[in-house]
Amino acid sequence: MFTRFKHTTNVLFLDAKSSDFAYEKGKKVDIILSPRMYWVKKMTLPVSSVREVKKLLPSLFEDSLPAAHYSYTAYKSGEEFLLFAYEDKKVFELLADKDISSADIASIRFAQSEFDSLENALSINAQESMYKDDGLLVLVPTTWVKESQVMALENLKLSKHTIKLQQFGHIVDKKSLYKIGAILVVLALILLVEIFVASSKLSGIEQAKEALFSKYKLQATMMQNRSTYTKYSKIYERETKLRAAIALFLSMPLQANQKITHLQYKSKKLFVVISGVTQASIQPLLSKLQANKLKYTTAHQGTGMKVEVSL
């Protein structure tokens, strides 16, 4: 039961000038950043929540930091706010320099939050110590402090104040990244909606087609329907042509001695025999056939003429 409160991770104090720390590859570590790795301000602000403070952080540090790409964080300490600025890139570079795998890092915190109740100076390397001055943890040469203790991290009770490093923050600004990401996501959503609408329309058309088949009692496939249509449209064309051809012959300007004596239709051909037709009187009849663009052949049969029309 008591083992529950023991550290399951190692605690490391990360400073550019100290190399004396116990890091085992593959074992999780809680990193405490040395005051050298961040900028801190203690301020009383006319706002109540940390969220409101975070919005103001870039402007609060604006004039006091050298030009670089900073990340910011803050937390409340009593009536005041502790404001932090740090460079993710520098921390990552130092972690890489110390050969600490990012997969092994359980958390990253500031020395300010972890040594909040520090009373004496703590030496961080042979030359430097840190101590609290007006509530803020600062680095000073060890020679400046009367007595400096050795840092013991094993029994240190860690606070809840951690930070998350932006590994690619220096490549692209977080806000811009969110904006671009949001635009791409919105675009993807628009496309999804478009696909959904088009698919709905498609299924609507499919349903309408099914209703069409049922309404007009069509056969199962369009091939069968086309075949039936071709069959009946051929009959329609042939019958129309037959009636037009018969009407044409019946309206021909025949002379008194000219008569239609035989009219026969078989195998898509119409045969008409007109009696009393001579070479001299044939022309008006042929002109009428030509005017109606009929395919015909003529042959003399006794005293008459036989006309064969292909329909």
């Binding site: 990012s102 690619f168 087609k209 369009m222 086309r226």
Partner: protein, 135 residues
């Protein structure tokens, strides 16, 4: 502490968007094809229904022909009628030309599928007739 490179997320989103673009263009193409196909089917269905109502309606054709043949002037001509499942053959060795005119006027003005016709003039008032109508 392992973080995903935002450029990788961006690339993934771009790939997703490209995939969606392709998918959308495919669906839109299908939609255009479906609209064209529906239009063609609708026109075919309407035309086919019109043609079927004329040439595939056996009952209607039979009733109509019987009505013509039942007319007193035509019935008096004593035409020879041979009916089978799909057709009717009408013939007469000698029919009055007036009756023939009346009969042919009615047949040719109706939508019947005439597959054979043979009219031969015998003299000024008489003619022979052979006709086959299918349905």
């Amino acid at each position: 502490m392992n973080q995903v490179n935002p450029l990788h997320i961006g690339a993934l989103l771009l790939v997703v968007i490209m995939f969606l673009f392709f998918k959308l263009s495919g669906v839109k193409e299908e939609l255009v094809d479906a609209k064209v196909s529906f239009g063609t089917s609708e026109k075919l269905a309407i035309d086919l229904q019109a043609l079927k109502s004329v040439y595939a309606n056996k009952k209607k054709s039979k009733i109509s022909i019987n009505r013509i043949l039942a007319q007193s002037s035509i019935r008096a001509a004593k035409l020879i009628l041979k009916r089978d499942k799909n057709s009717i053959r009408i013939s007469s060795a000698s029919i009055d030309t007036r009756t023939l005119n009346s009969l042919m006027g009615k047949i040719l003005n109706g939508s019947y599928n005439i597959v054979a016709l043979d009219i031969k003039k015998l003299n000024e008032t008489k003619a022979s007739l052979k006709m086959e109508i299918k349905w």
